[in-house]
């Protein structure tokens, strides 16, 4: 860490998001989520976006639709200075994200657990070994360095350190803060900065609008389940069962309460109550259906 206060003028904004627990075979659905949660607007302060994939089952197409445009926008500066952390404990998903990051040169960070500190997230993408090493040095130095500091830490020439840091900044992994020639430019790992400025950790990420109703498997699940299963190296039945079981585990208490009320209504032939229960999320479904056909 550089001596004194952080070189950043404002605290880093930490934005967490998690798609509702569901199976996502639909790219369009993911595009809507991305546009809603991460509109392409730049700010004059630094930001860290975190997408927690836990609880969701994403087709490769849906994952691409969510992650690639955000990664490209971050690299292109569309969000101003920002970093993207993706949380997934699933080996297949992690491998797919690594491949995506490599192919599309996306500056993203992967975290295995929603409970891990931000600074434990691992950078993936088109990083050379030297750049990866340099990034590790920035982390170990507290998240903020200068080129001369890295040169000292790595035992390399200052020019070489400048080249490595510039490459990391150009690729979107670190934020460069221009300073006077005497002070030298500072290079900031936004994840470390976010952790320090807002004591952030990837915890308590709540779904955007989760409810027991949202585990809806659309009609084209067959293809999606196959695709997800292929990526994860498991069979489609296991994927479906796992998705369903995970949903049940998360919502067991709520489902038991619902079940009690439904059974009471069935016993009493309470048609109005049953219809209200069956239809209670129709407005949301209708909104989705209508948005699907907007030209």
């Amino acid at each position: 860490m550089l001596p004194g206060m952080s070189v950043l003028e404002k605290p880093v904004e930490y934005r967490k998001s998690r798609p509702p627990t569901a199976v996502y075979p639909d790219r369009h659905q993911m595009a809507q989520y991305r546009e809603r949660e991460f509109p392409p607007t730049a700010t004059d302060w630094e930001r860290v976006f975190c997408i927690n994939l836990e609880g969701g089952f994403f087709s490769p197409g849906a994952l691409m639709e969510m992650i690639v445009p955000i990664g490209q926008a971050i690299r292109g500066g569309v969000y101003g200075s920002a970093a993207l952390v993706v949380v997934s404990s699933d080996d297949g998903t992690v491998a797919f994200l690594e491949a995506l990051a490599q192919k599309h040169e996306l500056p993203i960070f992967l975290s295995r657990s929603a409970d891990s500190p931000l600074s434990d997230a691992r950078p993936v993408g088109a990083l050379t070994t030297a750049e990866m090493e340099t990034y590790g040095l920035i982390r170990s130095a507290g998240g903020e360095v200068t080129s001369s500091g890295v040169a000292d830490l790595a035992g390399i020439e200052v020019n070489a350190a400048v080249n490595r840091l510039s490459a990391l900044a150009r690729k979107g992994y670190v934020h460069r803060v221009a300073r006077s020639r005497r002070e030298g430019d500072a290079y900031v790992d936004l994840l470390s900065a976010a952790e320090q400025s807002v004591a952030a950790s990837i915890t308590d990420t709540q779904p955007v609008s989760t409810s027991t109703e949202e585990f809806t498997i659309p009609q084209d699940i067959r293809e999606a389940i196959r695709t997800v299963a292929t990526v994860q190296g498991s069979n489609p039945g296991e994927v479906l069962l796992r998705a369903w079981q995970e949903f049940l585990d998360r919502h067991r208490d709520v489902l038991d309460v619902d079940s009690k009320e439904v059974r009471r209504m069935l016993k009493e032939n309470d048609q109005e109550g049953l219809a209200a229960y069956a239809n209670r999320h129709n407005r949301e479904r209708a909104k989705q259906a209508a948005s699907r056909i907007k030209r």
Binding site: R226, L255, L274, A290
Partner: protein, 245 residues
């Protein structure tokens, strides 16, 4: 003369084999002059609605388009005699054929229906709205709840009468379920399998409740197979089991 029996209607839907026929609210009120809450069978008094049922009940699309082909959003021409024209759209995702527009027709004259349809396409008001879908889902929810319990109990009675033999049937008019009852000494194992394609959790809670109104949801165990066959996972089929003394 068409001697075919009319299809069953329920609220705003005419129920065909694989989909419903419905009329968008805009068309119902503005083009046909009915109240927004008019049930489908009442609308049969209109010639284009009768044509809609006759021509679309078995074949969800026509042969001529209204406006340019637009993939899944292509609207099709519906005609009745010389004077009546409509535009329909097959919503495959929600399994509905919508009557989206109607106009009296004189080809090439001021009251040519097609410029009107094209105007609706141009202003984005031809296809169903969020309100139309809400009404669709509400009607289907009511249809489901009206017969669910009776359907489930009848299916269960059949399965109990033939232990070890798979019985299948329709629940609430929309969900097909397979059920097997196995008897071991004084215990009875009931397996219920159904597809979760397009289904949300409320439906699952209701289906299991309808089979056993005394059993809490957590008493049902999610299992990987029916005793009679593997699950059809490619169809999104899951299976629950419950053991009763």
């Amino acid at each position: 003369m068409n001697s075919r029996l009319p299809h069953r209607c329920h609220r705003g839907s005419c129920i065909c084999g694989k989909y419903d026929l419905r009329i968008t609210r805009r068309c119902l009120v503005s083009d046909l002059g009915f109240e927004a809450s008019a049930p489908f069978d009442q609308c049969r008094s209109h010639p284009i609605v009768r044509a809609f049922e006759n021509q679309r009940a078995d074949e969800p699309i026509g042969t001529r388009t209204v406006g340019p082909a637009a993939g899944e959003l292509t609207a099709y021409r519906l005609g009745h005699g010389h004077d009546h024209r409509g535009a329909t759209w097959h919503d495959q995702t929600e399994r509905v054929v919508w009557l989206c527009a109607y106009e009296l027709h004189r080809s090439g004259e001021d009251d040519d229906a097609f410029p009107y349809f094209h105007e609706l396409i141009g202003t984005g008001s031809l296809l169903p709205t969020e309100d139309d879908y809400t009404a669709l889902f509400d009607d289907r929810g009511r249809r489901f709840t009206e017969t669910l319990y009776e359907d489930a109990q009848q299916l269960l009675a059949r399965a109990r009468a033939t232990p070890g033999v798979e019985q299948s049937g329709l629940l609430g008019g929309e969900e097909t379920a397979a059920i097997v009852v196995e008897v071991v000494d004084t215990l009875q194992e009931t397996y219920v399998a159904f597809s979760v394609l397009g289904m949300n959790a409320t439906r699952v809670v209701m289906i299991l409740g309808a089979f056993d109104v005394e059993a809490a949801f957590s008493h049902w165990e999610l299992v990987t197979t029916l005793p009679t066959r593997p699950l059809r996972v490619d169809r999104g089929e899951i299976c629950y089991r419950i053991l009763r003394g």
